[in-house]
Amino acid sequence: MITFEHVSKTYPNGVEAVKALSLEIAEGETLVLLGTSGSGKTTSMKMVNRLIEPTDGRILIDGQDVMAQDPIALRRQIGYAIQHIGLFPNMTVAENISVVPRLLQWLRARIESRVDEMLSMVDLEPSDFRDRYPLQLSGGQKQRVGVARALAADPPVVLMDEPFGALDPITREQLQNEFLELESEIKKTIIFVTHDVFEAVKIGDRIALLHAGELQQLGAPREIIESPANEFVSQFLGHHRFQLSLLTRTVRSILEELQITPAEAPAQRPTHRLRARSSLIDALDEFQTAGQASLPAYDREQFLGTVTKPQLFHAVAQVLGEA
């Protein structure tokens, strides 16, 4: 668990980047720090691994004040991923991924198997990618390596600063979806910084919306979209609110509201299926590509039930009525 207690950062020139920020991030939770540039979101994140040091207040990880810990040891226990530029261009993919394990002086055999494991986890064929240099990778591949590197030493806490920032919309969407799947498997405590409200709604268990160094609202994506705490929050969401509402409802929420239970699972893994964590928009997309009247829904490999097109349309109409 990570706790911010009245954390402030004031620069010597008087700029207050973060003002008395207090919040808690539960173990295994993904908290998104959302805001425009200058909102203090990146500063807040960098104070966790002490790349920036707070001028007031405390940050605790599992009750331990980060300022009381050796910064080097602290950082090696915290995964760190940033935009693709953060890969070391002088190191191969394998060397990049194994940076922290090597700093922690793992045995060579353990490092090698871990590199391959991480590459497979982010869907890159180890034998093909291990020895490549970052410049020989596409933007999406770099990003996957970046995520693999952040997770390589199996840190309990991961900081991600716009990790999908510099990607084209299609690759970005694909990586976000993969990240969601990955995240549900690895159960890390993640602080995720972004300026993109759609990404925030998609990725975050909760969102902390920051503006000018101050916390505007903290809550689940649906809470923030349906009941903005102040004028700034509703302006920030702006005309995206309807679309965002569709994003906050998931296939799981349809299953729960309609009390759909798994009758009998399809014998084979169907080509077209819905994921429990998919938003209504993604579900509409899936129906479009499948061209079927109903689709089975899964939580990873577990069959949850079948959703029909009218049921989905009904859920969308409900959101329409509310929004």
Partner: protein
């Protein structure tokens, strides 16, 4: 035509040994000067680049820069005068070597400095954020990424030194310059060419050789080659 070949053959028979020996001296002088300069300039360039007090770098680079526009012949002469003033032997290897080292310092120190400074700040920050100590950041990230720049500095320094080494014959250090100056004073074109042509070839050879090493170092990661299609 025949007489020209015969003359050349005769010349090589008379002076071939001298040319070979002086080429060796020339190379030895060059290597000593570049090695000494590198031993000073690479650490100095790194320290300057890492120093948080920016003024220091501009002051030091400024001072080193002063030597650059001084005509090489004048510098060699000045070093000779300096040695006399300090009551040191002003004829021989030492004053020649000092002049060459002074010249070789600048390209190495400037390139090392630039090489370290050009490393993306984000890369350094992510290295720090992952838990590298500043020494690890230097040796595992900054220096490897600066290496092509450092190599370019060494290449430039070597080529310059090969050129200027012909001049230090004037203060009694042996090099291919011996032949050139002897030829000039005796109006013997053969001697002038016998010194000048090997010196030119050495400069071209080392420019190519070190350029090749430089490109190899760059292509490992810092340059896009073998991109997947």
């Amino acid at each position: 035509m025949n007489t020209m070949w015969a003359n050349t053959a005769q010349f090589l028979e008379d002076y071939g040994q001298d040319i070979l020996r002086l080429t060796g001296d020339h190379l030895l002088l060059t290597f000593m000067a570049v090695l000494i300069a590198a031993a000073v300039a690479i650490p100095a360039g790194v320290l300057l680049a890492l120093c948080s007090w920016r003024r220091l770098a501009s002051v030091v680079l400024g001072v080193v820069n002063i030597f650059q526009p001084i005509p090489s012949l004048a510098l060699v002469a000045l070093v000779g005068v300096l040695f006399i003033a300090l009551d040191l032997p002003s004829i021989g290897l030492a004053p020649g070597l000092v002049a060459l080292v002074v010249y070789a310092l600048l390209p190495i120190i400037r390139n090392t400095y630039t090489g370290i400074r050009q490393v993306d700040r984000t890369v350094i920050e992510v290295a720090t954020g992952m838990g590298m100590t500043s020494r690890q950041v230097l040796f595992q990230v900054q220096l490897p990424l600066a290496l092509p720049f450092v190599m370019a500095g060494l290449r430039i320094a070597t080529v310059w030194t090969i050129g200027i080494a012909t001049l230090v014959s004037l203060v009694g250090a042996h090099s291919l310059g011996d032949l050139i100056f002897r030829g000039l004073s005796r109006h013997r074109i053969g001697l002038i060419l016998g010194g000048a042509i090997p010196a030119i070839l050495l400069a071209l050879l080392f420019d190519w050789l070190l350029g090749f090493v430089e490109r190899r170092l760059t292509s490992t990661g810092s340059k896009a080659d073998g991109l997947p299609t």
